[in-house]
Amino acid sequence: MPIDKSMNVLIVDDYKTMLRIIRNLLKQIEFNNVEEASDGAEALSKLRAGNFGLVISDWNMAPMTGLQLLQEVRADGRLKQLPFIMITAESKTENVVAAKAAGVSNYIVKPFNAETLKDKIEKVLGHA
């Protein structure tokens, strides 16, 4: 099944440079409808108000972390099936386990490359 690259993608990171990098990498793989949020609360608000096909979120944010955002998304009846990729420097086993338990669709460890991002998106959306 071909991936609909016209879908809205929400990228969430409290670090503006990282948002810019991910936006540009997504653009290079032809995802042009990208919105940004700088923390979990803003992301949740945008997700509830909008129509997104994918969330790509950092973990380490305040006051709402990426994991809390994921948990809120999975607890929301309308959003619970939304593909959710975590991109984070948190690479301990317990982090990955916790994210998986919370229902993460895939997990990318920083620093990452464009090929990894493309591969994970294809995997996640291919199974969506």
């Binding site: 670090y15 440079t17 990098i21 290079q28 420097a89 920083k110 620093p111």
Partner: protein, 214 residues
């Protein structure tokens, strides 16, 4: 014999009272003095075991006193009031400078992407591959920022622990004079490293200063 014991007890009590009068707080130096008083006054009656134990206590007191001296030599106020805040500011400046540089690189990269979109074939592919690598490499900024944040956290922990040590252990170090700092050579005095932005002269200030020598 009992009289002699009684006289010695009185003498010891008087010496201990004199020590207490001079130093009302229980300090390691006081412990050493008490032990020395006991040793000199009761040396005839102490067993080898007692003497060894008392000598160990005296040594312990001396060790604690030396530790206090070393804490005083640390100039702890400098650590908590100057060195750690300075290090934290320097690290913050590193983050700010690398973030600014990364933004400049990304901006140029976005321009290259725009140019790549106007090209076809191999040239466009090569240009996009190059910008992709630049984007990937720029994510270092996020990682280094997080690492530096951790270092700053560690410095703050050290600062708190030093303050706690002083609060519990080094209150009476005021009278102890630390050794004088080693004198810097003229060359060393000029080695200040990069200044923080708010303290630094910019290029126009430097230019004016240079011009003032003409």
């Amino acid at each position: 014999m009992p009289d002699s014991h009684a006289r010695r007890d009185v003498l010891l009590a008087e010496r201990l009272a004199a020590i207490r009068a001079n130093r009302p707080q229980m300090e390691p130096e006081l412990i050493s003095e008490v032990v020395r008083a006991v040793l000199t006054t009761m040396s005839d009656d102490l067993t080898v075991h007692d003497t060894a134990l008392l000598l160990e206590v005296e040594e312990l007191g001396r060790t604690i006193a030396n530790a206090k001296l070393e804490i005083a030599a640390l100039k702890v106020d400098d650590i908590t009031g100057c060195h750690i805040p300075f290090a934290t500011d320097e690290l913050d400046a590193i983050v700010a400078h690398t973030a600014a540089a990364t933004d400049a690189i990304l901006e140029s990269c976005e321009t290259l992407d725009t140019v790549a979109a106007t090209l076809n074939g191999d040239a466009a592919d090569k240009l996009q591959a190059a910008t992709t690598r630049i984007y990937e490499a720029c994510s270092f900024q996020d990682i280094t920022g997080q690492r530096i944040t951790k270092v700053v956290g560690t410095l703050k922990t050290i600062e708190e622990k030093v303050a706690r040590i002083i609060a519990t252990f080094g209150q009476n170090t005021a009278g102890l004079s630390p050794p004088p700092p080693a004198a810097l050579t003229a060359q060393e005095e000029l080695l200040n490293g990069p200044q923080l932005p708010r303290q630094a002269m910019d290029q126009s200030d430097i230019d004016k200063l240079m011009a003032s020598f003409d």
